[in-house]
Symmetry: C2
Subunit: 322 residues, 2 copies
């Protein structure tokens, strides 16, 4: 994309690697998906697999490594300030790993660029999705966790140590709800999928009825966003209440973020939003509006993300020219 | 400051206008202070008074309007996107007023630049105070209200409509505490001076003892930050609890903001912080630390603002070259 040549974008998740060759116009020319099960805590093997996925995606596109400008990788973890090393990626078992150079070595010295996976998705939504043409944007992704990305003056905000965008860990209801990070009251603890699932499971255990009560043989900890969506669509009251509650907390956070950053646009994405669709976005917007300061209560658009599963690899590709 | 010439900075408050001539090195060469009582809802008269204060400050410095590069004004309100008009300034009774041109006309056509007063103070702390030399910073000012300013990539963040920095209106404890904006649970509603005063007054009314109980003939709504500071210094338990509670909420917000923006530095200022001093800053930092994500729990410095009452006029002066 730098120079008209395609780039490779890699979306690295806890369970899969998705590599895609992306043309200079932002279209995905070829893809390769590999499962990463059993590669946790085995960084060398996982880096080999990533390189393999890149080679296969390139082969599908009929291209060689010398014909692409760079390889971008979206990593589910924290990078160092130079974006050369992964400081920590809990789901991969990576700690302080020099991924940029280790991967470049496996790819004939190709230029490798690292970016956080959620920031990558935000970047893609800004350039090619819901935020195209906007100078400032906040993206929130609500799934197993909650993360996001901020765009100001047309650029992704990285922060002083590359850590900006962790908006799942903003206290939103002091003292309530245990977060994955160990603290209480963070947005993620109140609104991510595990919070929805806990909300439903607790009430089913207390005897409330729900069409999801017998899902996964009653092991409600295994409820997916899709299960919840199906229940909401079937008019299930408990699932609907849980989904609205999540959207309400997201809306509170959005209201505060709009007051803080005054963006042109707010984009909501991630598994929960994809499953529950426009209704969820509207519930969140409804909760956000009254919190946005009257003096600036312009109609800030609050919209669904548009790129779905491709956001990660497209963003990783785009990050190579940031 | 643009070109080595001094500029005039004006700090416009609800009760006073403070104009200062600021040399290119950031020193205040001369000041003029005027009371603005009874000028609320009389914009023409207040604009006249501002012009008078500018002329007097210049006269004290032995300078004419043609010898300064610009006049910057920090306004306690919301500006339009071009920073030409004041959209709303509740404490002045201003609504949609073309202040930039109206004031320029009163100042022989001098270049006038408007900035929000709190953003001005944040800018001053960034350039000349606690944040000097940092590329990114968050400043929170805790007084009658709570506002702030964000610096990213060395520049003040304005947002898409000039409204960024309203961090007093971030929900921090959903559903608790009525805010000046009418909503609940915002940081300002929990931690600004009126929240401290309410906390103390309610408990005194219920029979708790405090050295402030008889202050202002028992009209505790009139308690100042100084009254509370004196009580804390005297070891008063209720006042100390109220101050710590405010600092705790500020700390929660700081924790979330650090996760969101990953700044190099956090600066706390405003009347409450000035009165309660380093103890307040440390209580806030103590509350913030555990909320800052472990992966990036670097020691982000959390410090007191340094410029005190001059921050507003210095920032208004600096804003002329932004």
């Amino acid at each position: 994309m730098d120079d008209g040549r395609p780039v490779v974008g890699v979306d690295l998740g806890g369970t899969k690697v998705l590599a895609g060759v992306v043309g200079s116009d932002g279209h995905v020319l070829a893809r390769c998906k590999q499962k990463t099960a059993r590669l946790k805590d085995r960084p060398e093997a996982l880096l080999d697999l990533i390189a393999e996925a890149v080679h296969e995606a390139l082969a599908s596109a009929g291209l060689g490594l010398d014909q692409v400008a760079a390889v971008g990788v979206g990593v589910p973890g924290t990078l160092d300030a130079e974006r050369a090393r992964v400081a920590i990626a809990p789901n991969l078992g990576w700690v302080d790993l020099p991924v940029r150079d280790d991967l470049s070595r496996r790819l004939d010295g190709a230029r490798v660029c690292l970016e956080n996976d959620v920031r990558s998705a935000a970047l893609a939504e800004h350039r090619l999705g819901a935020g195209a043409g906007r100078q400032s944007m906040i993206a929130l992704f609500i799934g197993t966790g909650i993360g996001g990305g901020l765009v100001a003056d047309g650029r992704l905000v990285h922060g002083s140590h590359g850590g900006a965008g962790e908006l799942g860990h903003m206290p939103i209801r002091a003292g309530r709800g245990r977060c994955s990070c160990g603290q209480k009251g963070h947005l993620e603890a109140l609104a991510a999928r595990p919070a929805l699932v806990r909300y439903i499971a607790r009430r089913v255990a207390r005897g409330e009825s729900s069409v999801v009560a017998r899902r996964h043989r009653g092991d409600l900890t295994r409820l997916t966003s899709g299960d919840i969506e199906a229940a909401v669509r079937a008019g299930d009251k408990l699932a609907t209440r849980a989904a609205r509650r999540s959207a309400r907390y997201v809306g509170l956070a959005v209201g505060g973020l709009v007051n803080l950053l005054d963006p042109e646009l707010v984009v909501l994405g991630g598994g929960v939003v994809e499953a529950l669709g426009q209704a969820y976005v509207e519930w969140a917007a409804e909760a956000a509006r009254p919190h946005i300061l009257a003096a600036s209560r312009r109609e800030v658009p609050i919209q669904a993300a548009r790129l779905g599963d491709d956001a990660g690899l497209l963003g990783a590709a785009l990050a190579t020219r940031e």
